[in-house]
């Protein structure tokens, strides 16, 4: 029984070694072919002026997005604060309930997000 187990594990070891050898061959073939392709591919690199124009356009677009996001943020914040002030002035209990809901919702969201991140990390460690 022990002899059969030894022969089985020896065969498995040989199969692993053969697979590793195969993998090295495939990798070498890939690297040669891709390096060939890279070497023979001529790229027309645009001029510095083109890249400067692109950089300018990119920064303008980033500024516009930031201004738009800030506007949405302040508008949403203003609406939420107004609603909260309205609720506070009419019914304190409702106000506390709303704050409690927001706290639970925020904590729940953060917990789910953290768990998803931990799950991915564990999976990556276990392979």
């Amino acid at each position: 029984m022990a002899v059969k187990r030894n022969k089985d594990s020896e065969r498995a070891g040989q199969a692993d070694a053969a697979e590793q050898e195969d993998l090295k061959l495939v990798e070498a073939w890939l690297q040669e072919g891709l390096a060939d392709f890279d070497g023979q591919t001529d790229i027309n690199v645009p001029s510095s002026a083109w890249f400067e124009e692109l950089a300018l356009e990119g920064r303008r677009s980033a500024r516009r997005k930031l201004q738009r996001d800030l506007a949405i943020f302040w508008l949403t914040g203003g609406i939420i604060l107004s609603v909260l002030m309205l609720v506070l002035s009419s019914n304190v209990i409702w106000f506390i309930a709303l704050q409690g809901l927001a706290l639970i919702g925020g904590t729940g969201f953060a917990a789910v997000h953290w768990l998803r991140g931990t799950g991915r990390e564990v999976e990556s460690r276990n392979g």
Binding site: F37, R120, S124, N126
Partner: protein, 180 residues
């Protein structure tokens, strides 16, 4: 990152000319990467430009922890994966388009006086979500975790896709070997 590279990157965060020079320096590397993963010259050109624009918009988020080329590859890979997921949903004449794009790439190689490597032919036959991790790992040398993050899939999925892809490539290599 070397001191000189760090200086250039710090300058690029605020100075347009420095940023433009940095992008111009990395343009060939990025373009060749995009050509290889997309196997589609037109798509590669669009994605290179989109990648550069995203890099410019988010330059303040680049902290210099990895090489600038790695950061560009990460952005480019995500954009390509998003584009392909949209294409799959649209399902518009995909196979015919893919073959047309591939013919154009081969013509481009021939026109430049080069040849179309067998490895490229074999990679072109793989699905895009198998081709990308194989190239990133076995040609560019990135880790499975990095690839998983850029493709937004678990590391286990990356490993299994690579395993399946390499099996197919092994068969191709044996077939080419026996023909020769």
């Amino acid at each position: 990152m070397t001191e000189a590279e760090e200086r250039i990157w710090q300058q690029a965060r605020t100075d347009n000319k420095a940023l433009a020079a940095l992008l111009q320096q990395h343009y060939p590397f990025l373009y060749k990467y995009m050509l290889k993963i997309t196997m589609d010259r037109n798509l590669a050109e669009d994605l290179v430009q989109d990648t550069m624009l995203q890099a410019i918009e988010n330059i303040s988020a680049y902290e210099g922890r990895s090489k600038f080329s790695t950061w560009l590859i990460a952005i480019g890979t995500r954009l390509y994966m998003d584009a392909m997921r949209r294409k799959v949903r649209e399902r518009k004449h995909q196979e015919a388009e893919r073959l047309q794009a591939l013919r154009s790439m081969k013509f481009m190689s021939a026109a430049a006086g080069g040849s179309w490597p067998e490895a490229m032919e074999a990679l072109a036959e793989l699905d895009y979500d198998i081709r990308v991790p194989i190239m990133l790992k076995h040609y560019y040398g990135y880790t499975v975790d990095e690839i998983a993050e850029w493709m937004n899939i678990p590391a286990g999925t990356v490993k299994s896709r690579m395993h399946n892809g390499l099996k197919k490539l092994r068969k191709e290599l044996s077939a080419n070997g026996s023909e020769a």
